[in-house]
Point group: C2
DNA sequence: ACAAGTTCCGTTAACGTTTACGGTTCGGGC
DNA sequence: GCCCGAACCGTAAACGTTAACGGAACTTGT
C-alpha cells in the first residue's frame, strides 16, 4: 500500500547530487546549471515527488498575507462575506495566513487604489469584489503579472487574469425565480419585470437571460419585460420603478436581483401595488424581514455571502499552498427564504455568529493538549 | 503583533526542566510526577501554548484512520455522500488520513456489525449513518467509551455519545415545502399528505412538525393529514399511498420526505392522479428527472449529499487534529430544484465529478514545484 | 601569473515535535 | 553491603524542508 513518499533526499541520492541542489532546481533558484536542473525535474517527476507541506511550513515559517478588498455596503452582505473569510482563515490548521481587509466606502469608490495598494505591499493573494470589472481590469492584469493570485467574489471580471471566481449560480437563481413566479401566479396573464444592476455585468445579464428563458419556456402566460438597470442607486431604482408601474398597469410580478430591493418596495408601496404584485427579491437583511413576514415579498434568494467568503479564501489558500489548479469557478446554489422558514434562517445566522465568537474565545483559552 | 508562539522548549526553560518532561506531561504519558505535570499544565496555559501541528505531523507521521459506515442505497444519495467525504479528504494538505469504507447492502442490515468492526480495528474516527438509531445506540456508546469520535450523517442518534451530526435542516425543509405547497395551490381548499420514513426518527418528526405548523399558520385552506410511514419499503409506500388516494378524494398535494418517491409516483400514476396532485419530493436522482421535467413533480428538495459528506469529514478531522470543540451540529439548507433549473443542477453534478477526476489526475502527475 | 569574481554545488543548522534510549535517585529485598 | 526494579527525568536523533554559508572549479582583468 503506502510506500513512503519520495523526499528531496531520495531525488538527490538517485542523482548522486545533494539536497541543496535539488531544492534549488525545484524552485528555480539561482545557482544551478540548466542541465542539472532539467535532470532534477525529470527524476522528481519520475519518482512522483510531492513536497511535504508540514516540513516546508515548519522550516520556513513564512506566513501568507492575503488582502480582502470588498465593500462597506448598505446591507449586511459584505459583512457576512468578510465573516466567512475570517472563519475559514481561523480553521486553517497551519496558522500561516494573515488577513488584511481593505474596504471601500461606496460602490467603485477607491477600489482601484485599494487593489494597487495591495499589489504594492506585495501580498501573496487577493480576494476582491470587482464592482466595476472593466475599469479594474488593467489593475487586475498588473496583479496577475506580478504573480499575485486573485479571486473574485460575487462578480466576475473576465479577461483579467484572475485565478478564480466564487459567486452564486446566476443561471440557477434566475431560473428558479422564474419558476416560482410562474407557479405562484398560476394561469393568469400578466407582465413580469426584473431589475438588475447593469446588463454589462455578466452575472446580471445571465440572471436575466435565465429568468427570461425559463419564463418563456414554461409560462407563456407571463411576458417578461426588458430589464431595469438600477446601478445600485436608490433614487434611480425608485424612479424607474414608479415609471414602470405607471406604464404597465397589468404588471403581475417583479424579480429584484440586486441588493437594492428597498426602493423597489417603497415604490410599490407608494403606488399601492404592494399586495397586488408578486415580488421576489435577493439576499436577506434586516430591513427586508418585515416584508417577507407580511408576505409583501413572497420569497427571497439568499446568496449565502458567508459561504462565498469561505469558498474564496479556501480556493486562494489551496492554490497558494498546494500550487495546483483546483476547480477555480465555484458557483453556489442560492437558498430560498420564505415566510415559513424565515425564522429558521435568522436563527441560523445568529447561531453562526455566536458559535464563531465562542470559537474565538476558546482559541484564546487555548486548551489543546491533545 | 505576531510575537513568536511559545514552544515546548519555552515551557521547559521557564520551569527549569526538559522538553521530554513537558511533552510527557502534556500528553498524560507515564513517567512524570503529578506535581510536575500540574506545573507544566499551568505554565503551558499561562504562556498560551498551542502545539505546532506541522511539527507534530512531521515528527510522528502517524495517519488518522477514519471509517465511513454508510449504506449502499437505492438512489445515488450515498454514493454522493461518500464522494463528498473522499473529496474533502483529498483536499487535506497534510495527507494524514486514510479512509475505510464499510457499506451496508440494505437498510439496517449489518450496520451494528460494521460499527463494531471499525471499533475493533481501532480506527481514529467514524462517520456513520445510523439508520436505526435506537438499536445502534449501545454500540455507539461503546465506541464513545473507547474514545473514538463519531459523527452522524443524515440522521441523528440522540444520547449515543456521538461527537457531532451533519444533516439537512429539517425545519427549513419541512417549512419551505409547506410554503411552496401553499403558494402553488393558491386559495383552493384541500388536504395535504406527507410521507416520512418513521416518526420515531427525530428528523422525520421534525420535518412533519415544521410542515404541519407552517401549513397551519399561513394556509388554513389546506389541511395536513397524518403522516404516512413508509419505512423505506417500496411495497409499503405504494400500498399506503393507494389507500390514501382512495380515502381522500380531495387530496390536493403530497410531500414525500424520503428517498422512496418512486412508489408514491407510481401509485399516483396508477390512480390517475399524477396531474391533479401537487407533488414535492426529496433528493435528486436519475429516475426522478423525467417527473420533474414533465411537471409531475413540481419541486424537489435536494439534500446536498456531497456537502454532507464534506462537512462530516471536516468536522471529524478538525476534532482529531485540533482537539477543540467546534460547532458540532451542522445543518444544511436544502436546495430547491424545479424544472427550470433542473438542467443546471444536473450540469453541476456532472461538472463536480468531472472536476474531481481531473483533480485526481493532476494529483498523479504531481507537478507541485511551487 | 595572481587576485578577484562567477558559477555551481555540498554541507549544515535550524524549525517544533515525537520517540527511543540512557541516566539519575530512591526504596526494598537479599 | 550490593543488586534490582521502579519512578522520574534529560538527551538526542529523527521527520523533510529551507536558507545560509563555504568551497571548488573556472573565467576574467591586470
Amino acid at each position: 500500500m503506502g510506500k513512503p513518499p519520495t523526499t528531496l533526499r531520495d531525488i538527490a541520492r538517485s542523482l548522486g547530487t545533494s539536497i541543496g541542489t535539488v531544492h534549488r532546481a525545484l524552485h528555480d533558484n539561482p545557482g544551478v546549471s540548466a542541465g542539472t536542473r532539467a535532470k532534477v525535474l525529470e527524476t522528481a517527476k519520475a519518482l512522483g515527488y510531492r513536497p511535504n507541506l508540514a516540513a516546508r511550513y515548519l522550516s520556513s515559517k513564512k506566513t501568507l498575507r492575503i488582502s480582502v478588498n470588498t465593500l462597506q455596503g448598505t446591507t449586511s452582505f459584505w459583512d457576512e462575506v468578510r465573516a466567512g473569510v475570517r472563519e475559514e482563515a481561523g480553521s486553517i490548521l497551519l496558522e500561516n495566513v494573515e488577513m488584511e481587509f481593505r474596504t471601500c466606502p461606496r460602490l467603485g469608490e477607491g477600489e482601484e487604489a485599494a487593489l494597487e495598494a495591495a499589489v504594492r505591499e506585495q501580498v501573496d493573494g487577493i480576494i476582491i469584489f470587482p464592482s466595476r470589472p472593466q475599469s479594474l481590469r488593467a489593475a487586475m492584469r498588473r496583479a496577475a503579472r506580478a504573480h499575485i493570485p486573485l479571486v473574485c467574489v460575487a462578480t466576475d471580471a473576465p479577461n483579467s487574469g484572475r485565478l478564480g471566481i466564487v459567486a452564486v449560480d446566476t443561471l440557477v437563481s434566475g431560473s428558479i425565480a422564474a419558476d416560482l413566479m410562474g407557479r405562484f401566479l398560476g394561469p393568469r396573464q400578466g407582465e413580469i419585470a426584473i431589475t438588475v444592476f447593469d446588463m454589462a455585468i455578466t452575472e446580471h445579464a445571465e440572471k436575466y437571460s435565465a429568468f427570461e428563458s425559463t419564463l418563456r419556456s414554461f409560462y407563456p402566460n407571463l411576458r417578461p419585460l426588458q430589464p431595469i438597470e438600477d446601478h445600485d442607486d436608490e433614487q434611480e431604482a425608485y424612479e424607474k420603478c414608479r415609471k414602470l408601474f405607471d406604464e404597465h398597469p397589468d404588471l403581475a410580478g417583479i424579480y429584484v436581483t440586486t441588493e437594492a430591493s428597498m426602493p423597489v418596495l417603497k415604490a410599490a408601496h407608494d403606488a399601492t401595488l404592494l399586495d397586488r404584485l408578486t415580488i421576489i427579491t435577493t439576499d436577506l437583511f434586516p430591513d427586508l424581514v418585515p416584508y417577507i413576514r407580511s408576505g409583501g415579498v413572497v420569497a427571497t434568494m439568499y446568496q449565502r455571502p458567508r459561504a462565498q467568503g469561505q469558498m474564496a479564501l479556501r480556493m486562494l489558500y489551496e492554490f497558494l499552498v498546494e500550487g495546483g489548479q483546483r476547480s477555480n469557478e465555484v458557483t453556489l446554489a442560492p437558498h430560498l427564504v420564505m415566510r415559513g422558514n424565515l425564522d429558521f434562517f435568522l436563527r441560523r445566522q445568529s447561531k453562526e455568529s455566536v458559535s464563531q465568537s465562542i470559537r474565538e474565545k476558546s482559541r484564546e483559552l487555548a486548551e489543546d493538549f491533545a
